[in-house]
Symmetry: C2
Subunit: 339 residues, 2 copies
Amino acid sequence: MGNLVNVAVDAMGGDNAPGEIIKGTVDALNDQENVRVHLTGKEDLIKAELSKYNYPSDRVTIVNADEVIGMDEPPVTAIRKKRDSSIVVALNLVKSGECDAFVSAGSTGAVLAGGQLLVGRIKGVERPPLAPLIPTAKGVSLLVDCGANVDARPSHLMQFAKMGSAYMKYAMGIDNPRVALLNIGVEEEKGNALVKETYPLLRSCSDINFTGSIEARDIPEGGADVIVCEAFAGNVALKMYEGVGKVLLAKMKEAMMANVRTKIGALLIKDSLKSTLKEFDASEYGGAPLLGLKGLVVKTHGSAKAKEVRNSIIQCITFKEQDVNGKIKQYLDLDSEVN
Amino acid sequence: MGNLVNVAVDAMGGDNAPGEIIKGTVDALNDQENVRVHLTGKEDLIKAELSKYNYPSDRVTIVNADEVIGMDEPPVTAIRKKRDSSIVVALNLVKSGECDAFVSAGSTGAVLAGGQLLVGRIKGVERPPLAPLIPTAKGVSLLVDCGANVDARPSHLMQFAKMGSAYMKYAMGIDNPRVALLNIGVEEEKGNALVKETYPLLRSCSDINFTGSIEARDIPEGGADVIVCEAFAGNVALKMYEGVGKVLLAKMKEAMMANVRTKIGALLIKDSLKSTLKEFDASEYGGAPLLGLKGLVVKTHGSAKAKEVRNSIIQCITFKEQDVNGKIKQYLDLDSEVN
């Protein structure tokens, strides 16, 4: 057994805290020998949940935090004022170096703001992007940025491309990841001012595998491994992806439950359908990493259940063991040598 | 029978021209007594297709056009140079007043550019948006703008809201349509610079039913009737909507065809599933109108089949009979009186 990876977990964040967060944590601990989890939040609640399970207690630390940041609080103010919140206490563990990574299902705004304010950016990173993995027909793609930086500049997008390449190559094991620029057509002259300025910058990067523009309709097919976009468009793409999936599946279910005949049909296809849909389950891959910080910060869905929490913790182990931050630095440095 | 509505149809545009275009035209003519269609394109090809069907030939005019604008030609140049193309000839029929509307499955860029250059904007309209109807769990919503005007300004978005309201109220019969601004969160302080400037403008419009921001994930649920957005984000939303649907349905089909057991199950649920999925079939509603021009220009998918072409022609009849352009003028004038 090598060195333990230390992961701080926000026990109080998200719709299903603390129950599902603790369950996911226990699952990760039982599955993986090389991780220690630091649970931040109300000690008595955490202890009560932990008492339901068998787990390696020598690899769990409870760090009491009496406050909770609500989903609707103004993020920066909340981070500054609620020093004893589960998010701030956890981020300070990463800042001090006691932890390598942080996982939270809490307020996205607070996690993003706190990550930047407390953990801090890697030197040279202009804007740390939020980069969720989305399942596709061919595997999984990274959508970078999906909400951290609205009104980004071309130089930011170039860094997103590099950080995303490093992440997909080293954290996800995809060789020579294909990088595409989200656009409204595939021709180079298409797009808004930002895209038109960014395109030649990406084309000039020798250290990434830039394949050109991609339209949103080709993302679910798996048209690229890293999709670079400004956060507003990325957020729209991500949420439309989630929204369409949800409605289509609900309608499908309705159709299968319509009458006795369809219910029998549903029983016959259930297993096959389940294994197909599993491929499209984002929680299989963990949460969205905020790239470019000195430590790893992972934001899971607010509605995350144990599986997503477990997989997010495992994601932190890979990130640390593969030294993805070291690779991100290399990608960014390489460019500063070239220019 | 009242006055005939005159619709110009591009017989040469799209992946399935002229076959599916002519078939859809014949279907519309046989269904509706109050429309005359002017088919533009190569006369011999059009005649050969028409000869396959029974239809009211007194309500069909063939207008020969020897050129075709390809999908990848630079739009403005193509419109200027190919004066004898099916698109230009048809648009000139609208310009001259001989036709009320134009339907094309051809190059989106050429249709948008040609609509503006040849048909022209209603006086006072700053930018004519492309506004597709997308099916939702509750009916159908209008996404405006989806590709006509990148880098739009807040005043453009305000006009989109008004034109979209007029369209949904009078062409689609939705009373007091709910207008929402596409955003990355629902709080007023969320969003990029454009959205932050547009929000108070929309709130101040007394003639529309502005309900605030909408996240892309709530669009498929039917969270608003008119979704106002800048064209880049709108195009991403639309294409992601189409892309996810396509991949999920393909995967679903794969799961149902996996083995004998699932194939029997599929047979049992087939009818129920079909009627559910029909609700999500955009071609039921026709194509995307380009709003704010002196005549109606409707862009169908490049892959449009007869049903979409038929429904697009019927859409033109409603547009004319409900005097949607008159209503658009009223909506826009009302505002100029207020200010």
